[in-house]
């Protein structure tokens, strides 16, 4: 046998060896199994993507929350991926498409059904049922059910808020108008009372820099208009979410109430005026709707403020709750550890930290923490609608982003151009139904 090594064969073997060694260097080493001496396995790294609520403050909150988790779970190392809200959902989509999503991610519920429908989220039903550490009784029903779509659970509740009305207490006192929270407690806080208060506070007679508006009109479907539409007895979609109901007389009445605040009653500024100018920060708005997350900013304002529930319309007590989600990516490599982290992000311990950073709890067992996170004094109004069952949630569908986007120019016609709501909504519904029924 000729054992001579030619230069060509030597180069072949050397090149092959080099390639193999490079490939092996690229390979991910499997986690080490527990040794016979009882030593711990190599820690598993779990990527967590989240948007830092309030920037640096949100990152600090997350660190505070993760510290006890990592102490209690030495086998899990959490890699933090702080991502701005505006980029997070695109990033989750593209990394999922590339097969390398973060193991666990925060997802705004506006996008949850869209992601769930694409099969990129891990269905959590079995894990929730099997895990003694998770009890649906600990959560308010509306908040708990937001994570369910088509019978499957896709997420654990994470942060979230009811929609409430904030009011500038100093303006109310200066104008001698009864406090809205007192009107609420007396059962007199109705749409009419709200309008009367707004009118009494409005002063547009002087220079633009001194103008005070009683309120601001909601003109967006991202949580702003729903309480008015629902309050008037209307709804966005039919039960199977295939048809828009925004042109029903009830829904139209809700739109008209908001439209009239600007164009008929003159108690709310136009969108031109509010564009890029924070009239709330400068104390120029009497009463306005928002989420609890804003309390962190409002605490730095140099006037006194409080909160009150939405005024009662035709449907009585009613408001909106919208939460966010912690999800587990289906394509993740370490689903058990990812579930541990996902579950923890929704736990009583972590939720207490989110509350101190502006969250309003989805959990029944954290209402004390919420009550004590002052101001405002009236923190109870954030969870009472959930506890008493008069908080509704948005009927999300995988096409929610698309149909609400298509509504924007119609809302411009109502709120900017003051066009007839019924006429505009009759046209809008045709467009929305086209999207919902897959014609577009």
């Amino acid at each position: 046998m000729n054992s001579r090594v030619t230069r060509r064969s030597f180069l072949k073997v050397a090149g092959g060896g080099l390639a193999l060694s490079m490939l092996s260097a690229c390979a991910v080493a499997p986690p080490a199994a527990p040794g016979e001496d009882g030593q711990m396995a190599e820690p598993v790294t779990i990527q967590l993507m989240f948007w830092p609520v309030g920037g640096e403050r949100g990152i600090a909150s997350m660190e505070k929350a993760l510290e006890p988790f990592e102490e209690a779970n030495p086998d899990i190392v959490v890699e933090r991926l702080a991502t701005p809200w505006g980029d997070l959902h695109d990033k989750f989509l593209t990394t999922s498409a590339g097969g390398v999503p973060p193991d666990v991610s925060a997802v705004d519920n506006y996008y949850l059904t869209q992601f769930a429908s694409k099969g990129i989220l891990l269905a959590l039903n079995e894990r929730v049922d099997a895990d003694p550490g998770v009890n649906d009784e600990d959560y308010f029903e509306a908040a708990w059910n937001e994570g369910v779509w088509e019978g499957e659970r896709w997420s654990m509740p994470y942060i979230g808020s009811t929609r409430v009305m904030y009011f500038n207490l100093d303006l109310f006192e200066a104008a001698g108008v009864p406090r809205p929270d007192e009107q609420w407690e007396a059962g007199e806080w109705t749409w009419d009372a709200f309008l009367e208060s707004a009118a009494a506070l409005t002063d547009t007679s002087g220079d633009v820099m001194d103008t005070v508006y009683g309120t601001m009109a909601d003109s967006s479907m991202w949580g702003g208009l729903q309480p008015w539409i629902w309050g008037a007895g209307g709804d966005e979609l039919n039960d199977d979410r295939t048809q828009s109901l925004l042109n029903t007389p009830e829904a139209v009445a809700g739109f008209e109430f908001c439209q009239n605040l600007i164009h008929d009653h003159g108690v709310a500024p136009t969108r031109e005026t509010t564009q890029d100018v924070n009239l709330v920060a400068t104390g120029r708005i009497g009463i306005w709707a928002s989420w609890r997350g804003l309390v962190m900013a409002y605490r730095s304002y140099d006037y006194n403020w409080e909160v009150v529930p939405f005024p009662m319309g035709a449907e009585g007590k009613l408001t909106l709750y919208k939460g966010n989600s912690m999800v587990v990516a289906k394509a993740g490599k370490n689903l058990d550890q990812a579930w541990q982290l996902c579950k923890y992000m929704s736990s009583q311990e972590a939720d207490a930290i989110w509350i101190t950073n502006g969250g309003a709890t989805p959990r029944k067992d954290n209402t004390d923490v919420l009550l004590n996170s002052r101001p405002p004094e009236n923190n109870a109004y954030f969870y009472q609608p959930l506890a008493e069952g008069w908080a509704k949630t948005i009927p999300f569908t995988p096409l929610w982003v698309e149909w609400t986007r298509s509504l924007s120019p119609f809302l411009d016609r109502i709120f900017l151009d003051n066009e007839d709501v019924q006429t505009v909504m009759d046209e809008a519904v045709v467009t929305i139904d086209g999207i919902l029924q897959g014609d577009s």
Binding site: G119, T270, D276
Partner: protein, 302 residues
């Protein structure tokens, strides 16, 4: 052992140096472009397998989607107004800054500086400038007794506002024209002066023809850039009010990443590519009539 000639060695080095770029170009430009050709004929939501739909996407965008026409209209008006404005303003500024005065380097830097700051930061800055009640622009108009419009909040003025804002980057074009101006041989001006040409005639018959290749370059690059405008609309208006600023790239982005219609978005991208190519070829075709290289027009060697 054989020895490489110097030229061969130089060629090998050349290829070696260009290889990283070439790899990036093939992997990140040509590759995705080829894939997007395929995707344009599919229904693909990024996350589930693509389904072939033939020419459906192209049929829909030409006959069944009025927003494509609106996006093309908005984008074309923007390009049609902002490019000439930028070229002319850049030329005027360059002529002014081509004079020999004290501290000219500083003045040139001041004019060029805004074009260095671009993107989201500028868009946010301009939102404040356009604020109807509290913005700098309407405050200025108010001083001269003009009641300023609502700018971005009014469908009649929103696009004009974005065109106005596009002039923020005119310093970049000015710099290129300035370089062109300084390349015009002084002997040509001397000869024109000897022939009795006044400053206007010198500008029209010497300066303009000599820098016409620079203006052509500006125009072509302007078309390519203006038809792909995205950031301003994305940050400032989201295409509103009433689709008045629905730029083509914004609509493409919405379809791709908000509605997860990547196949349709790919078809939109190829239509835009064809549109840019067509306009660029038209400009190049007609440039023969007004562009001079080395003082000679490309049209019949004039």
């Amino acid at each position: 052992m054989f020895k490489l000639r110097y030229a061969q060695l130089e060629e090998i080095y050349g290829w070696l140096f260009v290889t990283p770029w070439l790899f990036g170009f093939l992997a990140f430009i040509v590759g995705p472009m080829l894939v997007s050709v395929y995707l344009a004929f599919t229904n693909w939501d990024i996350l589930t397998p693509a389904q072939m739909v033939g020419f459906d996407n192209f049929v829909k965008l030409t006959t069944g989607d009025p927003l494509v026409g609106q996006a093309l209209k908005v984008t074309t008006i923007y390009a049609g107004v902002s490019i000439p404005l930028q070229v002319v303003l850049g030329l005027i500024l360059a002529l002014l800054l081509n004079e020999k005065i004290k501290a000219m380097s500083f003045v040139r830097t001041v004019f060029y500086l805004p074009s260095v700051v671009a993107g989201v930061a500028v868009a946010l800055l301009w939102r404040w400038i356009f604020s109807p009640d509290f913005g700098l622009l309407n405050a200025g108009l108010d001083l001269v007794g003009i009641d300023g419009p609502a700018w971005l909040a009014d469908s009649r003025t929103a696009l004009s506002a974005l065109i106005l804002m596009s002039l923020w980057g005119v310093g970049g074009g000015m710099l290129i024209v300035l370089a062109g101006l300084q390349g015009v041989p002084t002997t040509l001006y001397e000869a024109a002066e000897v022939d009795g040409a006044n400053s206007w005639v010198r500008f029209w018959n010497v300066t303009l023809p000599m820098i016409s290749p620079v203006i052509l370059f500006q125009t072509v690059m302007g078309i390519i850039g203006a038809l792909q405008v995205f950031t301003e609309a994305y940050v400032m208006t989201e295409g509103g009010p009433k689709y008045a600023t629905l730029f083509y790239m914004l609509y493409l982005y919405q379809n791709a990443f908000e509605f997860l219609k990547m196949g349709y978005a790919s078809a939109l991208a190829w239509v835009l590519f064809a549109y840019i190519l067509l306009l660029t070829l038209l400009v190049l075709r007609f440039s023969a009539a007004w562009v001079y290289y080395e003082g000679v027009s490309t049209k019949a060697g004039q």
